[in-house]
Homo-oligomer: 150 residues x 2
DNA sequence: GTATATTAAGACAAAATAGTCTTATATATT
DNA sequence: AATATATAAGACTATTTTGTCTTAATATAC
């Protein structure tokens, strides 16, 4: 897995938030219900995004969370960096230690090209993109998760 | 991380084995020393490769492990499949549940292309490729692992 | 100000992954 | 046969990741 489970939750919640109006706060309970993620766990995940100032939170009645910027202004990568940190950028996802510049392994050129493409994609795609074709079934039910081809 | 730590160990040991003669068995102790991996842990990892018939093992004096086939005949992907299974092939490494064919998310086309490239690379590269430019420093010391760019 | 709704924080528990250690088994040498 | 050398197997521990629960803090409404 390229991204932690925690990060995935953050991405799914962010995408869902991006499909909602920024005029109102959405409660984490509503998000956790729609996404079928544990409320308490999602709360902790979103706290990271709030601290990173990708989300804004508000306590009390009519409180909740909302995007801190417009959906088109928040990149997929912003969420990844906030939750998983920058290891994706700096470490070889193949996991082979001793990195590329000094002593490249035979896969390095190919791999680093592919990896750069992934990073570019994550830096290109915004929450608006994710929200555009948003399909609640897709982002919601884990039951679809088994045995599907990618 | 795309591959488990266990899988990385298997790959590093396999690459090292590929740089050695198939006429002799190499002891796991020798591999674990050269790669700076716990002997007992590496033993368990290599047992998987032996069960998958990528390696052959032999007990007793002058025993050890060796490649079951020529290095050019064993793919990077063979090792990955043996140790991590086929989740890399079937699951979205982005982790978003509910997969691509029925309800593709907006990233699907891009992502599935990139992912296919990774899979193709892993199916293309053989242990011989890894062994060719083999550099023991690179595959050995974790101290190089921090802060290098990929 | 009291009750209610909400996020924040942190202690705690469970599960998955990684790593260690001991014993069993097979082989070779003498 | 006895000893030494090796992998195989499995119990055990440690660490990380994931998930749960309780309490604190903050805001609203009445
Ligand atoms: S040389 Fe490149 S591909 Fe190979 S292990 Fe290092 S960073 Fe990864
Ligand atoms: S649609 Fe494709 S990219 Fe998106 S989550 Fe599913 S498999 Fe992954």
């Amino acid at each position: 897995m390229l991204l932690s489970q925690t990060c995935i939750y953050g991405l799914r919640a962010s995408a869902l938030l991006a499909s909602k109006s920024r005029a109102d706060y959405t409660t984490i309970r509503e998000l956790s219900d729609e996404l079928d993620i544990s409320f308490h766990f999602l709360t902790k995940v979103l706290q990271k995004l709030t601290k990173s100032e990708l989300l804004e939170s508000y306590k009390g009645p009519n409180g909740g969370v909302k995007l801190a910027r417009t959906a088109s202004d928040i990149k997929f990568m912003d969420v990844v960096l906030s939750i998983d940190g920058d290891s994706l950028l700096h470490e070889c996802a193949l996991g082979l230690p001793g990195c590329g510049i000094l002593e490249p392994c035979p896969m390095h050129d190919q791999w680093s090209g592919l990896k750069q493409n992934i990073v570019t994609m994550m830096k290109d795609i915004t929450l608006k993109d994710l929200a555009n074709n948003y399909n609640s079934t897709h982002l919601t039910f884990d039951s679809f998760n088994k045995g599907n081809q990618v």
